[in-house]
């Protein structure tokens, strides 16, 4: 082996070390350091080397690493316009200066013999320069040029990779930040976009030909491809089982996988031909130990087999993708929660109201404008009553826009409201529906979407751009719709909230304006609120009694026990009612009707509500009514007494005179005396009936129940009535069933009722028949006695029939004169019969007689303790 080839071998070995050093670097500076160190290697022997990178801000060359240059340091800057090393920055070429001293612009004087300046290039852009100097002139030859060029290329690649990684890291972080801000906005669509971009970068970074990214569907235990890059047919949406293909394998093992030769791999999928996949590297996407997806990169170049280094790079992306997927999961769950919360909005009493809605909408609009990169926007709420749109938020559209209204069909937003469909206007000035207001040049392109809840329009969201070149596309519209959904929900929530608040206000007003004193207490028995009526009734101000014990507050020593018992009952969940006296603040007492009601919230008792109704006026009125009634009763008693005394004389003397006239044989006076007597009797009957009726109406009539034989009573009554019946030329027929037997009732009243019915029937019948039928019925509700009085008299019209049981309602006023009677008998009969648990009814046809039916229970339901003897004279 020649010396030359020996030196060559050492140089190659040195170059390899240089490459390795560069590859091992973790950042740009380390790359630079490795380049300098590698070139300074004794087998290469460059003693004066400096690596500069261009500061993108200033354009300065900034020293990253150097060797052999005394007096300089890392960070040393060479400004634009100075030094020989600027030349490669300008043309991207290697510049060799054999004799430095001949060049005017050189600045460094390290070696000052000869100098090589080599550009560092990433993506065709010069990002730095390697400066190598020699102490002598003409120090470098062709071989040096080759070595140094290779070193510069390696450093360039390394730095390029670093930058791509850094850029990726930054953009991933940006994406994450974006994700965070969009968590309440973005949906699965955005996730796919994000993952697509992520995959694209990974593919570029790895220098591979294609890649795929799949999400793990936990519910189905499958992988779903959400992004594909240069993999032939669009694979998005394809599902794979766990263990199926390279990605399925990774999903199962949760371990990264490198397949240098895919076509030889026994797990390969026939879907991927030699043209598309030669080599595969795949990594699991994990959050902690949870699998959320798999990322894979492929190479179609047969000469390119993946190695561990490629895997390491791929794994750089995995966490970002995993976080993105995880965030999307969180978002979905959160959105579901948000929807649930919307339903529960009414309970969120402290949530934003109308005022805050405008703030929410404005925020929303500004965010939409930012994300869509537009110059302005407006958000209008649809007023369902008027059908108009009212601008609720405006962003960079002029100060006075908020509050202005538009009709449906007016302008872009009006059009959207009308059609309920999104609208993109590429050139607003050319648009037929444009309005003058926006023709000042600030609006050149427009995109608007309806805000919809269900099928109901709640508003319109519009964004504009002042540059006509801004074209809105499907993606923009998709994003706008996301904001539209948010805005619609916010408006709807505000509406629901306002409704709830109105309802709350309504009930609050109901309590505040209620004439009933209302007070509420918590479970500690402490007062929590009271209404103005309570303040007025008891003389306390609400703020004075909050936290105090109600029972102690409004009770005297006498009423405290009773009140506490009420309170306890209400606390146990009972609704209590009562009457009593309660003390005002000044110690005076007030009569109240009170109620205690447990206060329930969601089925749980949270307190008790007390209601007090001042009934002193009522009680006073009641006392007055009682006094008036008393006065009426005593008036009736007195009147009855005063009328009876002279009547006693009239009746007594006329009877006496009749007797004497008959005895004397002087019968001339008898008919006239009889008229006096008869008129007196009628007057007496009238007095008795009025007295009866007033007693009934005063509730003073009592039922005295005794046992008696029905037949006997009926016989007695018919015997009494017979002379009267015969006087009218009538026949009285009695049909009494054998089984009528006894009844337990008020004998006196039964007799009175039968007399009333029979005399009534007789009164309106001449030369006819009055029939009394008595029968006993055996019903499920006990035995009943039916007394039917039927006549063949003049009968009644339906109108007369309808009023026959009302007091002083003889069929006609004239009939009273013609037929006599007080006009109270039937009214009294009906009242008596009902008091005894029965009733009386009538059937009749004019001119065809009448039938009165009295039904009474064989056993009267009332059994008053003390026997009474109501005045009864006939």
């Amino acid at each position: 082996m020649s010396r030359a080839s020996d030196a060559e071998a050492r140089r190659r070995s040195a170059l390899l070390r240089l490459s390795t050093g560069i590859a091992a670097a973790h950042d740009e500076r380390e790359v630079c350091r490795a380049a300098v160190d590698g070139l300074h290697d004794r087998d290469l022997g460059y003693d004066f080397v400096g690596v500069f990178l261009v500061d993108p801000g200033t354009g300065d060359r900034v020293m990253q690493a150097s060797v052999g240059w005394a007096g300089t340091h890392e960070g040393y800057r060479i400004p634009t316009g100075q030094g020989l090393s600027e030349r490669p920055l300008k043309d991207g070429e290697v510049h060799y200066t054999p004799k430095v001293r001949r060049e005017a612009e050189h600045v460094l004087a390290a070696a000052s013999g000869s100098e090589l300046d080599l550009p560092l290039t990433v993506d065709d852009e010069v990002i730095g320069v390697i400066v190598v100097e020699g102490a002598e002139e003409d120090a470098f030859g062709r071989e040096d040029l080759e070595i140094l060029t290779a070193a510069a290329r390696q450093a360039s690649l390394a730095i390029g990779r670093m930058r791509l990684i850094e850029q990726e890291r930054r953009s991933a972080e940006e994406q994450r930040a974006l994700m965070d801000t969009m968590r309440d906005l973005s949906g699965e669509l955005e996730l796919e976009k994000l993952l697509g971009a992520l995959l694209q970068r990974a593919v570029k970074l790895l220098g591979v030909t294609g890649g795929e990214l799949a999400i793990y569907d936990e519910a189905h235990e499958e992988l779903v491809i959400v992004a594909g890059h240069e993999m032939g047919a669009d694979a998005a949406g394809t599902r794979m089982g766990i263990g199926e293909g390279a990605m399925g394998h990774v999903a199962r093992t949760r371990e990264p996988l490198v397949i240098p030769d895919y076509q030889a791999w026994n797990g390969r999928s026939a879907q991927y031909t030699q043209d598309t996949v030669q080599s595969v590297v795949a990594a699991p996407l994990l959050i902690g130990s949870r699998l959320v997806g798999v990322i894979a990169a492929v190479h179609s170049d047969p000469g390119h087999a993946f190695g561990r280094e490629d895997l390491r790079l791929l794994e750089l992306f995995a966490p970002h993708a995993a976080v993105a997927i995880h965030n999307a999961d969180l978002f979905t769950a959160e959105r579901r929660r948000a929807l649930e919360q919307t339903a529960l909005l009414e309970t969120l009493a402290d949530m934003a109201g109308e005022l805050e809605l405008s703030v929410v909408l404005r925020d929303l609009l500004v965010r939409a404008a930012e994300l869509l990169n537009v110059t302005g926007g407006e958000l209008a709420i649809h007023d369902e009553e008027s059908g108009e749109l009212r601008i609720a938020a405006s962003h960079n559209m002029g100060a006075d826009a908020v509050g202005t209204t538009m009709t449906q069909g007016e302008g872009a937003m009006g059009r959207v409201a009308q059609t309920m469909a999104p609208l993109i206007i590429p050139d607003y000035l050319e648009w037929r529906g444009s309005t003058e207001k926006y023709r000042d040049g600030s609006v050149r392109t427009v995109m608007a979407a309806p805000l919809v809840i269900g099928a109901r329009l709640v508003g319109v969201l519009a964004v504009v751009h002042s540059d006509p070149r801004r074209r809105f596309g499907e993606e923009d519209l998709g994003l706008l719709k996301l904001f539209a959904t948010q805005a619609a929900i916010a408006i709807e929530n505000a509406r629901l909230f306002t409704e709830a608040r109105h309802r709350e206000q309504y009930f609050e007003d109901l309590v505040q304006n209620n004439p009933v004193a209302i007070v509420t207490m918590d479970l500690e028995f402490d007062i929590t609120s009271c209404n103005p009526a309570f303040e007025e009734l008891f003389g306390w101000k609400e703020e004075e009694i909050l936290g105090r014990n109600l029972d102690q507050l409004v009770n005297t020593a006498e009423s405290l026990d009773e009140a506490s018992a009420y309170t306890e009952e209400a606390y146990e969940g009972a609704v209590i009612r009562g009457l009593g006296k309660r003390a005002r603040r000044d110690g005076t007492l007030v009569d109240v009707e009170l109620a205690g009601v447990p206060v329930m919230v969601d089925g749980e008792q949270v307190g008790i509500m007390g209601l007090y109704h001042d009934i002193s006026d009522l009680l006073r009125a009641q006392e007055q009514a009682q006094a008036a009634n008393q006065a009426k009763s005593s008036f009736l008693a007195n009147m009855s007494h005063e009328l009876r005394t002279p009547l006693n004389a009239i009746l007594g003397y006329s009877e006496m005179l009749m007797e004497e006239a008959e005895e004397d044989g002087n019968e001339t006076y008898v008919p006239d005396l009889r008229k006096i007597e008869s008129a007196g009797r009628h007057l007496l009957a009238l007095i008795n009936d009025v007295l009866d009726l007033s007693k009934i109406e005063a509730g003073k009539t009592e039922i005295y129940v005794e046992s008696f034989d029905v037949r006997e009573v009926v016989d007695a009554v018919t015997t009494t009535l017979r002379p009267l019946v015969e006087k009218n030329g009538n026949t009285l027929v009695l049909q009494c069933d054998e089984d009528v037997c006894e009844m337990e009732s008020d004998l006196t009243k039964v007799r009175q009722m039968l007399l009333n019915l029979l005399s009534n029937a007789n009164k309106f019948t001449e030369r006819g028949t009055v029939t009394l039928s008595v029968s006993r019925e055996y019903g499920e509700d006990g035995h009943w006695l039916t007394f039917r009085v039927q006549d063949t008299g003049i009968g009644m019209t339906p109108e007369q029939l309808g009023k026959v049981f009302e007091p002083f309602q003889q069929a006609e006023a004239s009939t009273t004169r013609r037929f006599g009677g007080t006009g109270l008998g039937l009214a009294i009969t009906r009242r008596f019969s009902r008091m005894m648990g029965g009733d009386v009814g009538a059937e009749s046809e004019e001119g065809a007689g009448a039938t009165f039916t009295l039904r009474l229970p064989a056993r009267a339901p009332l059994a008053p303790p003390s026997p009474t003897y109501p005045a009864e004279l006939t």
Binding site: A637, T868, Y869, L873
Partner: protein, 143 residues
């Protein structure tokens, strides 16, 4: 005023079966009622002594030997309830039955009379037949 006609079993059928004449004290302040009722009772064979107020009624009851007293309730000087109570409290007169006669026909009037010690109660205007029945029931001269 017509003279009272002599009392005989012939013109007084009610007395037909009786051996002795029932002696009635009628306490009544209203002149017409007093006159009318006393004449009708006398006509039916009763011996009727008159008192015009409660106090006189008590006094006469103590001095005479009455089979029964017909007592109005609304009386001057001493009302009928007091008079009855006085008589019933006095051993000498407690045994004489008292029928309250009153135009007070309201609920409770009867109870009030019975509580004062009356043995029976009747309302004005008087139904003579019914009153006679009550008198006979209390004096034990029926049939």
């Amino acid at each position: 005023m017509r003279p009272l006609r002599p009392l005989t079993p012939q013109n007084s059928p009610e007395l037909g079966a009786t051996q002795t004449v029932t002696k009635i004290l009628l306490v009544e302040d209203d002149e017409m009622n007093r006159d009318m009722l006393s004449r009708r009772l006398i006509k039916r064979g009763y011996d009727v002594i008159i008192a015009v107020d409660g106090q006189e009624g008590v006094d006469r009851a103590r001095s005479g030997d009455f089979d029964i007293i017909l007592m109005d309730m609304s009386l001057p000087v001493m009302d009928g309830w007091t008079a009855t109570r006085t008589l019933k409290d006095d051993e000498a007169t407690a045994g004489i039955p008292v029928i309250a006669l009153t135009a007070h026909a309201m609920q409770g009037d009867q109870e009030k009379a019975m509580n004062a010690g009356c043995d029976d109660f009747d309302t004005k205007p008087v139904d003579l037949k019914r009153l006679l029945g009550k008198i006979e029931a209390l004096t034990g001269v029926a049939d």
